[in-house]
């Protein structure tokens, strides 16, 4: 008899382990009937579940019943610990970067003006991103029909781009000189290139 009951216990333990593994590995909560499909005929799924529920009580994971189906869930009191605060480095989209550039150079500037300059309408998210990054903020309303809101850059913008003031942004001339605004260079440079007929041109210039 004692040998028999030992076998029973070890069987019960195996059944409990199967239920445990099963509930862990399935992608949906399981009903008692579904659990029985995985167990030998003589098994007691109810006892296995009860034992597991006891063993997991107070742990980081708990065995709970939802509408008669069983499932492991992380303990409710840990939810805040399982949420991660993350600092993420993101690349600014082209649209956002252009919008920022226009606000920087043309501030205070309305959304309509930004769109005119960019030649495309500005998506809802674009300004949001710049506000979230704390680089732009609303300025005064324009004294014009509809009193549209204007946008200006922030101190945070100056800090990030290491600018003393907004006046330190390179002007159009400087942008041109750096090649950032250049369009066609070909024929203009023909005038300044080395001369085969130097004498000729000098003659012309003298006159």
């Amino acid at each position: 008899m004692s040998a028999d009951s030992k076998v029973d216990i070890s069987h019960q333990d195996t059944h409990k382990r199967i239920v445990e593994a099963l509930l862990f590995a399935t992608s949906e909560p399981l009903s008692i009937d579904q659990i029985y499909e995985y167990l030998p005929e003589n098994a007691d799924a109810g006892a296995a579940i009860a034992a597991l529920q006891d063993e997991y009580a107070g742990r980081g994971v708990e065995l709970i019943s939802i509408g008669g189906r069983w499932s492991f869930k992380t303990a409710a009191d840990l939810s805040e610990h399982l949420t991660l605060q993350r600092q993420e480095q993101r690349k600014l989209s082209r649209a956002a970067m252009e919008t920022l550039a226009i606000i920087a150079y043309h501030q205070p500037v309305t959304r309509a003006e930004i769109e005119t300059i960019r030649g495309v309408s500005t998506g809802r998210g674009t300004l949001d991103i710049l506000i979230e990054a704390a680089w732009v903020k609303p300025g005064r309303r324009r004294d014009a029909p509809g009193r549209p809101l204007t946008w200006v850059t922030t101190q945070g913008f100056l800090d990030h781009f290491n600018l003393e003031s907004i006046r330190d942004l390179p002007g159009m001339d400087e942008l041109k000189a750096s090649g950032l605004l250049d369009k066609s260079v070909a024929l203009d440079s023909a005038l300044t290139m080395g001369d085969l007929f130097e004498a000729n041109i000098k003659e012309n210039e003298d006159e």
């Binding site: 593994a21 862990f24 590995a25 399935t26 992608s27 949906e28 499932s71 492991f72 399982l82 949420t83 991660l84 605060q85 993350r86 600092q87 993420e88 480095q89 993101r90 690349k91 600014l92 082209r94 970067m97 252009e98 920022l100 550039a101 226009i102 920087a104 150079y105 300059i117 960019r118 030649g119 991103i129 979230e132 990054a133 680089w135 990030h160 781009f161 290491n162 600018l163 942004l169 390179p170 159009m172 942008l175 750096s178 950032l180 605004l181 250049d182 369009k183 024929l187 023909a190 005038l191 007929f197 004498a199 000729n200 041109i201 003659e203 012309n204 210039e205 006159e207």
Partner: protein
């Protein structure tokens, strides 16, 4: 010699009757050699490479008798084994020190076979292990851990300026009109050259030399027009010279360019 060969022939056709049919099952000649070796039921460390070479060559012979298409690699192996066989059977040639001895070659082949066998066994052992999704399972209901992200945007001043430049380039490009440059065309240059030649006095078949410079309008303030005039008139001169209508001369580099009309040719 013939006798022994015939014997082995019979043995082989008996032993390896299935081998011919199973050629597709081999991953290559070494794989097949390994299978032949395993049939010797010996530890690969103690296998007779010479016997193995004989069996393989016999097999290849049979295959060619049956006109089976053997992959090139099987034939390459056969050639190598035939060479190995000769090296193992012939007395050592002491003069050829660079080449491996037959024994060394056999050892290398044995190593190859042992290594391939080890890898085949390892592959079996590996796939006998409990595998994820077959024998063991990870969390079925794995949920996405929530992440609250504080976005930190990165952008350089260069990006900002480049973008602003791009906007301006784009805006200018949208209003782009081809600039009309004031240039002297080839036709105009040709006309001017011909008119100049006509005004000049003739000597025999030729008119007087004139300089390229003299054909350029000295009053012109537009430098680009001046430069294009020089280029166009010179090119027109070259064009005319091509069919003998004029001659061009320059005494030295950077000296004036002279042109004169060749009347006879021009007329003809």
């Amino acid at each position: 010699m013939d006798n022994t060969d015939q014997n082995t022939d019979q043995d082989l056709s008996h032993d390896n009757g299935g081998l011919l049919l199973n050629l597709d099952g081999y991953e290559g000649p070494i794989d097949m050699l390994l299978d032949l070796a395993r049939k010797q039921k010996l530890d690969l460390m103690h296998i007779s490479i010479l016997d193995l070479a004989r069996q393989y060559l016999k097999f290849i012979e049979q295959a060619s008798d049956l006109k089976l298409d053997l992959a090139a690699e099987y034939l390459v192996m056969a050639a190598w084994l035939a060479y190995l066989k000769s090296r193992l059977l012939l007395p050592k040639d002491e003069t050829e020190e660079d080449e491996l001895s037959g024994e060394e070659m056999a050892a290398a082949l044995q190593f190859q076979l042992r290594r391939l066998e080890a890898m085949q066994d390892s592959a079996d052992q590996l796939f006998d292990r409990p595998q994820l999704g077959q024998d063991i399972y990870s969390r079925g209901m794995g949920f996405e851990l929530r992440t609250n992200t504080d976005a930190h945007y990165d952008a350089s001043l260069y990006d900002l300026l480049n973008c602003y430049g791009a906007i301006n380039r784009r805006r200018n490009a949208s209003h782009y009109k081809p600039v009309e440059y004031n240039l002297l065309s080839m036709d105009e240059a040709m006309d001017r050259l011909k008119a100049a030649f006509k005004k000049l006095p003739r000597k025999g078949n030729h008119s007087t030399w004139l300089t390229l410079e003299s054909l350029v309008d000295k009053e012109e303030k537009d430098k680009l027009l001046t430069r294009s005039s020089i280029a166009s008139i010179f090119t027109a001169g070259l064009e005319m010279a091509k069919y003998g209508g004029c001659e061009i001369r320059q005494d030295a580099p950077l000296r004036p360019v002279y042109m004169r009309a060749n009347i006879q040719k021009e007329a003809s």
